[in-house]
C-alpha cells in the first residue's frame, strides 16, 4: 500500500513542472557549489603548502642572528584546511588561516577573525552546505505543502480513505516520496565528497568517515523535519494555498530572519571588545607591568634578579653561568602568557556567550542547529578555529622558549650580541597541528544535536497527528 502511494506521488512529481524546475535549479547550484568549494579548498591547501615551505626555508636560511631578534623575525602557523570544508567551509574563509608567531605577542589576527564571525554568518555563500540548508527545505515544502490539503480539495482523500488506507500509511508514503525526490540532490553532495576525496587531506581530520556520516545524518534529519512539518501543516489547514503561505513564512523565518536576528541579539547582549582596544590592552598589560619604569615593574625585575642570583649562589649578574638577558626574556614571556590566557579567556568567553544565545534561537530555527552541527563536523566552525589558535599559541610559547634557552645557555656575556646560525634554526621544530577528534567535536554540539532531533520529533508528531485529524474531519464531511 505504501509502495503504491510512493509510486503515485513520484509520478505526480515527475509531471509537475514546478517541482522539476526547482529540483534541477537546486541540483545545478549544488554542483556549482561543489566545484566552487573544491576549487577554494584546493587553492587554500596549495597556497598553504607553499607558504609552509616558504616559511621554513626563510627561517632555516635567515643566517647569523641573535635568537631574540629571530623571535621577532618570527614564523607563521598556517591552519590546514579540512577536506570536508569542500562541503561546508563554515567560517573558515573569514577567520584567517595564518597566525603570526612572535615573542611577547599573541597574534590578534585571531581576534579580528572571530569578531567578524558574527557578521559573517549573515552572508550567503555558494557552498553545498548552504544550498542544502536553504534550498532543500524549500524543495521539501514545495513537494509536501499540498500533500494532504490538495487531496482533500480535489476529493481524492475520501477516495483513498475508502480504499482502506490508514492515516499513517498515507503520511509515510507521502513523506518517503518527497524524501526520494529531495534525495535526487545527493549527486551534488556526492560530487562535493568525491572532489574532497580527490584533494590531498592535509589536515588529516580525525574520524573523517564518522564526521561525514554525521553530516549526512544531520542533513537527513533536518530535511525530514521540514518534510514532516510540511505534511503536518498541509493536513491541518483547509486549503493548500494556506499551507504554502504558512510554510514559506516558516522557511523564511527559520532560514533567513532568525539567524540574522540571533547573531544581532548575541552580539548585543554579549559584546566582544573592539579589536583595536583589545590589541592595545593586550600590548600594555603584557608588557608595561614587566618592562615598564613603574615601581612595581622595577620591583618585579629586582625580585627576579635576586631569585636567580640566589639560585646560582652568586652576587652579581656577571658571575652567572647563564645569560641573564635571555633568562629575563623568558620570565617576561611567562608573565605575558598569563596575561594572554586571562584576556583571551575573556574574549572567547564573550564569543561562547554569543554562541549560546544563537543556540537558544535554534529552538525556533532548525537551520541554526544544523548549521552549527555541519560546520563543527566539517572542522570549519568557531570552535575549530579556537582549537587551532590555542594550538598555535602553545607552539608559539615553545618556539620562543627554545630561542630564549639558546640565548640563556649559549649567550654568555654577549647577551643580545650572541648570534645563532642556520644550523640552529634548522633544528627548530615545525608547527604540527593535531585537530580535535570527532568525539570532541560532538561533545561541543550535543545541544544542537538534541535541538535538531527535537525538531524532527515534533514535526513527525505534528504530521502523524494532523493526518489522523484530517481523516476524521473528512469522515465527518
Amino acid at each position: 500500500m505504501i509502495k503504491a502511494i510512493i509510486w503515485k506521488e513520484l509520478l505526480q512529481y515527475r509531471r509537475d513542472g514546478r517541482v522539476m524546475s526547482v529540483l534541477l535549479i537546486t541540483l545545478a547550484l549544488g554542483f556549482a557549489a561543489a566545484v566552487n568549494g573544491w576549487s577554494t579548498v584546493e587553492t587554500l591547501q596549495r597556497e598553504r603548502q607553499s607558504a609552509v615551505q616558504s616559511d621554513r626555508d626563510t627561517w632555516d636560511n635567515q643566517g647569523k642572528k641573535n635568537p631574540h631578534t629571530a623571535a621577532h623575525f618570527s614564523r607563521y602557523a598556517f591552519q590546514p584546511t579540512s577536506n570536508l570544508a569542500v562541503f561546508d567551509p563554515g567560517l573558515k574563509d573569514f577567520m584567517g588561516s595564518a597566525i603570526w608567531l612572535e615573542a611577547h605577542y599573541r597574534d590578534p589576527a585571531t581576534l579580528r577573525a572571530v569578531e567578524d564571525a558574527v557578521e559573517i554568518q549573515r552572508f550567503a555563500r555558494l557552498t553545498p552546505a548552504w544550498i542544502l540548508q536553504v534550498f532543500a527545505p524549500l524543495l521539501a515544502i514545495l513537494l509536501a505543502f499540498a500533500g494532504i490539503a490538495a487531496e482533500r480539495e480535489r476529493g481524492t482523500l475520501r477516495q483513498v480513505m475508502s480504499s482502506g488506507v490508514s492515516p499513517q500509511h498515507l503520511f509515510v508514503g507521502k513523506a518517503i516520496a518527497a524524501l526520494c525526490i529531495i534525495a535526487l540532490l545527493a549527486p551534488s553532495v556526492i560530487a562535493a565528497v568525491a572532489l574532497a576525496a580527490n584533494t590531498q587531506d592535509e589536515m588529516g581530520l580525525p574520524g573523517a568517515g564518522l564526521r561525514l556520516a554525521g553530516i549526512v545524518l544531520a542533513y537527513a534529519i533536518y530535511i525530514g523535519a521540514f518534510t514532516f512539518a510540511a505534511i503536518g501543516i498541509s493536513a491541518r489547514v483547509a486549503k493548500s494555498k494556506t499551507a504554502l503561505v504558512i510554510l514559506v513564512g516558516f522557511w523564511a523565518a527559520s532560514v533567513v530572519f532568525i539567524p540574522r536576528l540571533a547573531t544581532d541579539v548575541g552580539s548585543t547582549l554579549s559584546p566582544a571588545p573592539e579589536a583595536t582596544d583589545f590589541e592595545a590592552r593586550l600590548s600594555s598589560e603584557s608588557s608595561s607591568p614587566f618592562w615598564g619604569s613603574s615601581e612595581a615593574a622595577q620591583q618585579r625585575r629586582a625580585d627576579i634578579e635576586t631569585e636567580v642570583l640566589a639560585q646560582y649562589g652568586v652576587d652579581n649578574i656577571a658571575d652567572l653561568p647563564i645569560n641573564y638577558d635571555g633568562y629575563l626574556l623568558q620570565e617576561s614571556e611567562e608573565f605575558a602568557n598569563g596575561v594572554f590566557d586571562r584576556m583571551y579567556d575573556e574574549l572567547w568567553g564573550a564569543y561562547e556567550d554569543q554562541a549560546d544565545i544563537v543556540r537558544l534561537f535554534s529552538l525556533v530555527s532548525p537551520t541554526l542547529a544544523l548549521s552549527n552541527i555541519s560546520s563543527a563536523l566539517a572542522g570549519s566552525d568557531m570552535q575549530a578555529h579556537r582549537h587551532f589558535a590555542d594550538s598555535a599559541e602553545l607552539f608559539r610559547r615553545d618556539f620562543v622558549r627554545i630561542l630564549n634557552e639558546e640565548m640563556i645557555e649559549n649567550g654568555g656575556e654577549d647577551g643580545y650580541g650572541y648570534m645563532s646560525d642556520n644550523d640552529f634554526w634548522q633544528q627548530n621544530p615545525d608547527f604540527d597541528y593535531q585537530p580535535p577528534t570527532a568525539g570532541d567535536v560532538l561533545s561541543n554540539v550535543w545541544a544542537d544535536i538534541l535541538i535538531l532531533l527535537a525538531w524532527a520529533f515534533l514535526a513527525y508528531q505534528l504530521a502523524s497527528r494532523s493526518v489522523r485529524f484530517s481523516f476524521k474531519q473528512e469522515a465527518m464531511a
Binding site: 509510486w7 509520478l11 505526480q12 475520501r158 477516495q159 475508502s162 469522515a475
Partner: protein, 258 residues
C-alpha cells in the same frame, strides 16, 4: 431483501445493518436501521437531504462509528474490521475524485494497488476499463480532461479491479447527461447481474425504479417504506415517496410554525 433475514434463500447479505443508530450530539441521523443487500441485489435508498442515506454509506465505509447497532460487510462488523471490510467495497460518490495529472489507467492502477491488487498487467487493467465502457485511448489520457461520466466509468473500473463484492453509490447519476446516465444504469445493472450487492443513495425516483431490486424510502434516519419496483408501479412508488416527503415537509413547517 428484507432486513431481518440476511440468509434468506441461502445467500448471506453482503451489506447489512442491524438496529443501526447514529447520532451527532442531539441530532439523530439514523434510528434502528435494518437493511440487507445480497449478491445480485440493488437497494436504492430514496430520501430528502438529511434522511440518513449518506450516513448509512459512511457507516459501511467505516468513516463513522455507529452509536449503537452494527454495520456488516460480508458478515464482518465494520467497526471491528474497518480496513478488511473496505477490501470488499467499491465506493463511487457523486463526483469520482481522481488525480488529474495521472491517466485513467494510472489512476486505476493506483486505486487497485491500494486495495491490495498490485499485480495486474496493463492488459488486465485495460480489460477493466473496457468493461466499464471506456476505450484504451481515453484511458491513456490524463483525467484532467475527463467528463464526469468518464470519471464514473473509471470509478466502476476501479471497483471491477478491486473485485468488490459490494458497491456503495452515493448520488452516482447526479449531474450526468441522459446518455451518460443511461450508460451508467446499464453498467450498474450488469454489475448486479454479475452478482454484486449494490446500495445506491439517490433522489432520482425514475432511475431508482430502473435500477433497484428494492427501493427503501428513508425519512429522518428511519427506513419508512420498502417497495419492490417489480410489483409496484413506478407512478405508485412516486406517489408514496412524495407522500412521505409531504409529511416531512408538513411536519417541518409545523415545527417551524411552533
Amino acid at each position: 431483501m428484507s432486513s431481518t433475514n440476511s440468509n434468506e434463500n441461502g445467500r448471506m447479505a453482503i451489506l447489512q445493518t442491524i438496529n443501526l443508530r447514529k447520532t451527532f450530539g442531539e441530532v439523530v441521523a439514523l434510528e434502528g436501521l435494518n437493511i440487507a443487500v445480497k449478491p445480485g441485489e440493488t437497494l436504492c435508498l430514496l430520501g430528502a437531504n438529511g434522511a440518513g442515506k449518506t450516513t448509512t454509506i459512511n457507516l459501511f465505509l467505516g468513516f463513522l462509528e455507529p452509536t449503537s447497532g452494527e454495520a456488516l460487510v460480508n458478515g464482518r462488523n465494520v467497526a471491528m474490521a474497518p480496513v478488511e471490510t473496505k477490501q470488499d467495497i467499491a465506493y463511487i460518490p457523486e463526483q469520482v475524485a481522481l488525480y488529474p495529472s495521472l491517466t485513467g489507467l494510472e489512476n486505476l492502477r493506483f486505486f487497485a494497488a491500494l486495495a491490495g491488487h498490485d499485480k495486474y498487467s496493463d492488459a488486465e487493467l485495460y480489460t477493466c476499463i473496457d468493461r466499464a465502457g471506456l476505450g484504451k485511448a481515453q484511458a491513456d489520457r490524463p483525467v484532467a480532461g475527463y467528463s464526469k461520466g468518464m470519471r464514473q466509468k473509471i470509478g466502476i473500473a476501479i471497483a471491477l479491479a478491486k473485485q468488490a463484492k459490494a458497491f456503495l453509490l452515493d448520488e452516482p447519476l447526479s449531474g450526468l447527461d441522459p446518455s451518460a446516465a443511461n450508460e451508467f444504469a446499464v453498467l450498474a445493472n450488469q454489475l448486479r447481474e454479475d452478482g454484486a450487492a449494490i446500495l445506491i443513495a439517490t433522489h432520482d425516483i425514475f432511475r431508482a425504479t430502473e435500477l433497484a431490486s428494492t427501493i427503501g424510502i428513508m425519512k429522518a434516519g428511519r427506513l419508512v417504506e420498502e417497495l419492490d419496483p417489480k410489483s409496484v408501479h413506478s407512478i405508485e412508488i412516486e406517489a408514496i415517496y412524495l407522500n412521505h416527503m409531504r409529511d416531512n415537509h408538513v411536519r417541518v413547517s409545523a415545527g417551524e410554525a411552533a
